[in-house]
């Protein structure tokens, strides 16, 4: 009898909450975490998706530095600050979210956690016949492109995985809500996202029905984790906690908490870096030579994969600028290699630079590479 019991799959609760607003989505897992952590509720899988678009920002971010607040206000897109770190992201009903809440069994082995609990996500893409795999630390890729975004947290004695299946994605919409140095940066970011992010629509040529995606998710969790999901509902305590959290998340005191921290307002922003996927970032820097140099680079694994050079300097002939940019693609972000490339370009091409020296270009490139995470 005992043996039979141990062979039975563990039962988890399934909460299919349908369409929710951003505040509700970003707080529901926290309201469940406490009861799961205390053993009052079983381990739980929540399925939900945004009823309306919203911008979700990381807990340490400054709203006005990251988000085009005016654009969001005029387009009625709410800004929701989540409890976790990371960058600003636009979310809409092109996503299907899954929140997994499990009783914590000691300190999380972060990579092992993602490796195990992202298997259901991989399963969904494979169910559609796609070449999907887990990529450390927290990505699922299809044909090498990021197809799902994920985060993890331990709170109230529960380990939480928050993630999505990207059903459809429009990079133009993604970048439209971000505060960027200028339109050129915005274009670069969008084309980079186009290249490195994917969706079910992109891979299949159509957006599959949401019910089917959810069905595959449930199937994936049950099969890969060897559990049984039982449809259930939130407890009264969880509902009460959720309502309180939604109220907190809606408050300006929470959304603009960094703005309220006075010294943060005084931060001088001199450049920025935006992560496109695990391996790819777009970075910008300005460098004051005799004239101003502005560099936008796309970087992957320490190498330049694209570069845009602009500024108020002169280059003769001006068309040589594109040639220089092409020359720099593929170069390692190391001073010696960049110096060599830039120097030999100006020597052999007979190109004249006015208002900046070739060394200044190297400095500007190095400055763009000094931003965080590179």
């Amino acid at each position: 009898m005992l043996l039979l019991v141990s062979l039975m799959p563990e039962k988890w609760r399934l909460l299919d909450l349908g369409a929710l607003n951003g505040y509700a989505i970003q707080s529901v897992y926290e309201s469940v975490a406490k009861s799961v952590g205390e053993g009052k509720s079983p381990n739980t899988l929540i399925l939900c998706y945004p009823s309306d678009p919203y911008v979700c920002i990381g807990v340490h971010q400054i709203v006005f530095k990251e988000v085009d607040v005016e654009y969001c206000t005029t387009h009625g897109i709410p800004i929701v600050r989540r409890r976790q770190g990371g960058g600003a992201v636009y979310l809409d009903d092109g996503q299907q979210f899954y929140h997994l809440i499990m009783k914590s069994k000691g300190m999380m082995d972060v990579e092992g956690f993602y490796r195990k609990y992202l298997q259901p996500t991989v399963y969904v893409y494979r169910r559609y016949g796609l070449n999907a795999e887990y990529r450390p630390i927290n990505d699922v890729v299809v044909n090498g492109k990021k197809a799902s975004g994920n985060a993890a947290e331990t709170i109230g004695g529960a380990d939480i995985l928050i993630g999505n299946v990207i059903m459809d994605i429009d990079p133009r919409k993604l970048v439209s809500v971000l505060r960027v140095p200028d339109e050129k940066f915005r274009d670069k970011l969008a084309s980079s996202m186009e290249l490195w992010l994917t969706s079910l629509k992109k891979e299949l040529g159509y957006v599959p029905p949401r019910e089917e995606v959810k069905e595959y998710l449930i199937e994936g969790y049950e099969k890969t984790l060897k559990i049984e999901l039982e449809p259930g509902s939130l407890t009264e305590d969880e509902k009460e906690e959720w309502a309180k959290l939604i109220e907190e998340f809606r408050s300006d005191r929470w959304t603009y908490k960094k703005e309220f921290e006075h010294e943060r307002l005084l931060e001088i922003i001199t450049g920025k870096c935006t992560k496109v996927s695990e391996d790819v970032q777009v970075c910008e820097a300005t460098y004051k030579a005799e004239k101003l140099l502005r560099i936008i680079i796309e970087v992957s694994k320490g190498k330049i994969t694209d570069v845009v050079i602009s500024g108020d300097f002169f280059m003769e002939p001006y068309t040589a600028l594109r040639l220089l940019e092409e020359e720099l693609v593929g170069a390692k972000l190391e001073r010696d290699e960049l110096s060599k490339k830039v120097k030999s370009f100006f020597e052999k091409a007979g190109v004249r630079l006015v208002g900046a020296k070739p060394e200044d270009l190297v400095e500007a490139l190095m400055k763009a590479s000094e931003r965080p995470h590179l």
Binding site: G106, M107, V110, F113, I137, A152, T154
Partner: protein, 138 residues
């Protein structure tokens, strides 16, 4: 795959199941995250520290760490009053990864029940065994 030999477990310290260490220095203790703990968390990018004067309890949260891929609590291995925190971690959280037993210490605590609570902690050999078992479960 990591093995137990990959992690530094210095002699003379006490260890908790939350992967924190206790270094007893006369009437105060220094606490921090162990080498194995920082390995589990991966590259730490943010730390929320306790305040000087805070009363903390054994196995209760003393702060938060965030590794970019995960955020979670760090649990105090001992009860008492926080008398000093390592402010450097706010600007250089990577010290927790690079030098967990040295420059990456988290707080100094004046313990309130040291003798009793040390019995709940592990010595070097016990902690090595704990890591070995923990790795098997992963």
């Amino acid at each position: 795959m990591a093995s137990v030999e990959d992690f530094k477990v210095p002699e003379g310290l006490y260890y908790s199941k939350g992967n924190m260490y206790v270094k007893v220095e006369d009437d105060i203790v220094v606490v921090g995250l162990t080498d194995y703990g920082q390995h589990l968390a991966k590259k730490i990018v943010f730390v929320e520290l306790p305040l000087v004067g805070d009363e903390v309890s054994q196995d209760e949260p003393i702060g938060t760490i965030e590794s970019g891929k995960w955020s979670g609590p760090i649990e105090s291995p001992i009860s008492g009053e926080v008398i000093e925190v390592n402010d450097r971690l706010e600007d250089e959280p990577s010290l927790l990864n690079e030098d967990p037993y040295g420059e990456g210490w988290i707080a100094k605590i004046r313990p309130s029940n040291l003798e009793e609570e040390l019995k709940n902690l592990m010595n070097k050999d016990q902690y090595i065994e704990f890591i070995r078992e923990d790795l098997k479960k992963r």
